[in-house]
């Protein structure tokens, strides 16, 4: 009986006159865009994995990422990237609180939480700028570590493996590692950057009362989806580059 009822409702929901998915066109298309973006990031990360499986040695993240601003030569593996992860998670939280305020047409709430989200995004970008600069000072960039005459001492500290293996394969592995690192965190950082721009645009519209006039804050929700996706991608980047 209940099945028969469900079937009738199902046929009705696809008969036209309303959205069978009960979402607006814009929100649905944001989801499908994010789905395609997930495959782009997925392809990047899987390609990184393929190269890593292909390599006889691979840099140890605990050895590569162990610095913290203003701590000099102190050995603090994973500490800085943990901070970056917390910043991004918290900015995702403030975003979902902005979306929540939007559901209740609470303009002041949306403004407050959007501001925090933007601050979080900028803080994350600042952290990434510091990390890139720091690695660059150690000689890492796109296309670095290619000269076969490079001294073993300039890259062996990235590894925990046997010294003979590092001498034979370490240079190529370091080169591959940094190419992928800058490409993938750069692509993600560009998403964060564009997300901050979108967030500023939404904030300005909210301050100007555009959404109050429109009667709903769905734009906050759509840009929120993008922002959460950026956080979601970071969860995977964090695992692939810093943990595994």
């Amino acid at each position: 009986m209940s099945q028969a009822t469900a079937t009738t409702q199902d046929v009705k929901s696809w008969n036209g006159g309303h959205s069978p998915f009960n979402v607006s066109y814009g929100k649905m298309m944001m989801w499908f865009f994010l789905l395609s973006d997930a495959f782009t990031f997925g392809a990047f990360l899987i390609s990184y994995g393929t190269t890593r499986f292909f390599s006889a040695v691979w840099p140890d993240p605990n050895k590569v990422f162990h610095s913290f601003p203003f701590l000099g030569e102190a050995n603090a593996p994973l500490l800085f990237v943990s901070l970056m992860t917390f910043i991004l998670i918290l900015s995702s939280v403030t975003m979902v609180l902005a979306v929540h305020a939007g559901h209740y047409n609470d303009r002041k709430g949306v403004i407050k939480w959007m501001l925090w989200t933007i601050i979080g995004g900028i803080a994350f970008l600042a952290c990434q700028a510091w990390e890139w600069t720091h690695l660059n000072h150690q000689g890492a960039w796109w296309g670095s570590f290619t000269n076969p005459a490079t001294a073993l001492s300039s890259f062996e500290h990235f590894f925990t493996a046997d010294k003979a293996v590092i001498a034979q394969h370490g240079l190529q592995a370091t080169h591959d590692f940094y190419n992928y690192f800058f490409t993938i965190t750069g692509f993600h950082g560009f998403h964060v950057f564009s997300g901050v721009i979108f967030n500023v645009m939404i904030l300005l519209n909210t301050v100007n009362g555009k959404y109050e006039l429109r009667g709903h804050y769905e734009m906050v929700e759509k840009v929120g989806l993008y922002w959460h996706f950026v956080d979601l991608v970071w969860v995977f980047v964090f695992t692939c580059f810093y943990l595994l």
Partner: protein, 137 residues
């Protein structure tokens, strides 16, 4: 009766015009952000924040001390992947509200992602195969 008819007409007008008004929750008449329902949702958001933070701390601790404490690297990696998916599921379900969407929409979004199962296995296997070929010959 006439009021009902009036509503139907409204819906039709909105459907042809600004769809967002129909599906943004506006028609659900959410008004009071201080209501019990609203507070319940906010407390759920903070609960999920706590879960994400704790899982991240566990991941970092595993990364720093896992192998040192005698855990095989393979086992540590399994934990990393499971915890990552655990975090991702919370972000998508609660923060992105996919859990609140219609089930048919949720399935439509999630089914294409199953391609990743083939994608990951095929390409990692390929990498491992080439390493073997390079080492042996």
């Amino acid at each position: 009766m006439s009021a009902h008819h009036h509503n139907d007409n409204d819906t039709q007008v909105l459907y042809e015009g600004d769809q967002s008004k129909l599906y943004s929750g506006l028609m659900n008449h959410h008004t009071d952000i201080q209501s019990a329902d609203s507070k319940k949702q906010v407390s759920k958001i903070w609960k999920v924040t706590g879960i994400l933070a704790i899982v991240t701390i566990i991941e970092v601790a595993l990364g720093l001390y896992g192998t040192g404490a005698g855990m095989p690297k393979g086992l540590v990696n399994v934990f990393f992947l499971l915890l990552t998916i655990y975090k991702a599921a919370y972000i998508v379900r609660v923060f992105m509200h996919l859990g609140d969407e219609k089930k048919s929409f949720l399935i439509t979004v999630l089914i294409p992602l199953t391609l990743f199962i083939w994608f990951i296995i095929a390409f990692l296997y390929d990498g491992g195969f080439w390493l073997e070929m390079n080492t042996k010959f």
